[in-house]
């Protein structure tokens, strides 16, 4: 083997032996370090996965949603609006949507009712989200009754339970035919809740929004990118809250690591003196200590990061779920798609591995440049 590599091997061997000699102290440090990386990495991975999930889910949503405003409040879209939009260039597809909320006193939960064309859901039939079906004990061909806001009882048959894959979106969803929707909510004919627009060219979305505002001054276009940005902000905010809560723990670790890395014991100083006296160069001593710092910090980083990965993507981030996911009666069950952002991993690596290794260097350098004759005196 190349002498340089052999030398590094010797240095690593010696470093491992040195670490083993101060087992309790180093294991304690490693556990605290790994735990810190685990917490930070869990937080980063989970927030990033939720952001990706939201982005992925919203990718299928329309580019622009048009709402009508009356006195600053969301109001129904009256007949004729759809026809007016048809004349705006760049709009590929437009669809009047019917949806609303229904409060179910049985579960004390709100459902989202949404109309679909008769080709998808027949009159008298509904399709329900997985979480709703779970909570109400529904299966295909079961019937369920809802009392409408006007006091009338409507009975529907469950045509299907929506795929669990879409649970993040459909947990509380009830799909029914347009006619059933209008009858249930006594929704006036020709009116819609909002209008969904598809715009083929992403560069055109803002122009279309401006044209919509000009053509229909009482309307408010909501862009998909704005919704995405809102989600990002919500997750950023939650992540920030957790980081604030964890700041104390991070600081405590920083003090512990600094104390360990920066403070050389008399025993360690003596050993450095011996190593220099028996022929080790200052550079060898520093390299050995860098290996020590890297071995501890890399082990902690890899251990903590892998544990965080398993925690987030196999156990659903049980520790942070309540804070980061939000809360609901009909809680969607969904497995996060593993999404790792390279830049975030690099940032985490830099802020956990680098400071520790750097903290080691200053005292070692000071000890290593002292004359080796100290061991003779």
């Amino acid at each position: 083997m190349n002498p340089w590599l052999e030398k590094q091997r010797h240095l690593i061997d010696f470093t491992l032996a040195s670490l083993a000699r101060r087992k309790t102290r180093n294991i304690g440090l490693l556990v605290a370090y790994t735990l810190l990386v685990f917490v930070l990495a869990s937080l980063t991975l989970f927030s990033n996965a939720l952001r990706s999930e939201a982005k992925y889910v919203l990718a299928g949503s329309p580019e622009v949603i048009l709402q009508r405003m009356v006195a600053g409040r969301h109001d129904l879209i009256p007949p004729g609006y759809l026809e007016q939009i048809g004349r705006i260039r760049g709009v590929q597809k437009k669809e009047g949507r019917l949806w609303g909320y229904y409060y179910d006193p049985v579960l004390n939960a709100n459902y989202t009712f949404m109309a679909r064309p008769a080709s998808e859901v027949a009159d008298g039939m509904i399709m329900v989200g997985e979480a709703l079906a779970r909570e109400r004990g529904l299966a295909k061909n079961n019937t369920i009754s809802f009392r409408s806001y006007s006091g009338k009882l409507f009975t529907f048959e469950v045509a299907a339970v929506l795929s669990p894959d879409s649970e993040l979106l459909s947990a509380d969803l009830v799909l029914l035919s347009e006619d059933d929707f209008r009858r249930f909510f006594e929704y006036p004919e020709g009116h819609y809740t909002d209008i969904a627009l598809s715009v083929a060219n992403p560069q055109e979305v803002r122009n279309v929004a401006a044209k919509l505002t000009a053509a229909l001054p009482d309307s408010r276009p909501i862009l998909r990118e704005e919704v995405q940005r809102t989600y990002q902000s919500v997750f950023d905010w939650r992540e920030g809250i957790l980081l604030t809560v964890l700041a104390g723990a991070i600081l405590a670790f920083a003090i512990l690591a600094w104390e360990k890395a920066a403070g050389l014991s008399a025993e360690e100083k003596r050993e450095i003196g011996i190593l220099k006296a028996i022929g080790w160069e200052t550079g060898d001593v520093i390299r050995m200590k860098i290996w020590e710092g890297l071995l501890i910090s890399l082990t902690a980083f890899l251990g903590g990061f892998l544990a965080a990965y398993v925690h987030v993507f196999h156990f659903g981030a049980a520790v942070f779920e309540p804070v980061l996911k939000g809360w609901s009666v009909l809680y969607p069950k969904f497995a996060l798609v593993p999404a790792v952002d390279g830049l975030q991993v690099a940032t985490l690596f830099f802020f956990t591995v680098f400071p520790y290794t750097a903290a080691i260097l200053v005292p070692i350098w000071r000890a290593a440049i002292t004359d080796p004759d100290a061991v003779m005196r």
């Binding site: 002498p3 052999e6 030398k7 240095l11 028996i278 022929g279 080790w280 160069e281 060898d284 004359d371």
Partner: protein, 224 residues
């Protein structure tokens, strides 16, 4: 082999606690012989050995090793010379606790990048010669004083140096163990090594294994 020309050494120079440990030492050390420095504590014996062994530099004066002036060499070159040409046996042995005798012995060879198997084989030979094979895997803090000293000697020999430097080698040993050390010393000269040691133990300085005794007092030589 080693020439010292007007060596002076000051500690804490230009400070209120300035102290001159050596006041102009001129000495030539012959190769393949055992030279002992004798003198009371504070006479400058150990300081002189640290300068000869490249552990420190003189404040002024020159050190020639095999004809080459080494007193002005940068630290890296001094370390190279120290590692290749000098082996040290310290008074307190200075072994690293928690490591086995074997690990301690091969430590000075780590920076050379020699394969581990080669180092272990060389250490095995030294252990055999010093009758320490059975203690090779024992942690050094479990060894007796005599065993620790033999480990320190094996460590001094691992890089096969030409010069052995021993500072008060028998200070922590009883008479029997001191005699054992003197026997080992004779083995060194038989192998052609140059030995420099400090001692005020009559057992050492009056031994036939020592070829030359140099007296020291107050940082000056007081004659052979």
């Amino acid at each position: 082999m080693i020439e010292l020309l007007d060596i002076k050494k000051a500690f804490n120079q230009n400070r209120p606690n300035e102290y001159w440990a050596l006041h102009g030492i001129d000495l030539a050390v012959e190769a393949g012989k055992v030279t002992a420095f004798r003198g009371p504590s504070g006479s400058g014996k150990t300081t002189l050995l640290t300068i000869v062994g490249c552990l420190s530099r003189p404040t002024s004066g020159r050190v020639r090793f095999k004809g080459e002036d080494i007193s002005a060499l940068p630290e890296r070159f001094l370390t190279d010379i120290r590692r290749q040409s000098f082996g040290f046996v310290f008074q307190q042995f200075n072994l690293i606790k928690g490591l086995s005798a074997l690990e301690n012995v091969i430590l000075p060879a780590f920076p050379t990048g020699r394969p581990r198997a080669e180092l272990v084989a060389r250490a095995g030979e030294l252990f055999e010669r010093l009758q320490l094979t059975h203690r090779a895997q024992a942690k050094v803090e479990w060894l007796s004083g005599g065993e620790q000293q033999r480990v320190a000697i094996a460590r001094a020999l691992i890089n096969d140096p030409e010069v052995i430097i021993a500072d008060e080698p028998t200070a922590n040993l009883d008479t029997a163990l001191s005699m054992e050390f003197m026997a080992i010393l004779e083995g060194f000269t038989a192998a052609g090594k140059t030995v420099l040691l400090t001692s005020h133990d009559p057992l050492v300085v009056e031994s036939s294994a020592v070829h030359r005794v140099v007296g020291m007092r107050d940082g000056r030589l007081i004659g052979d």
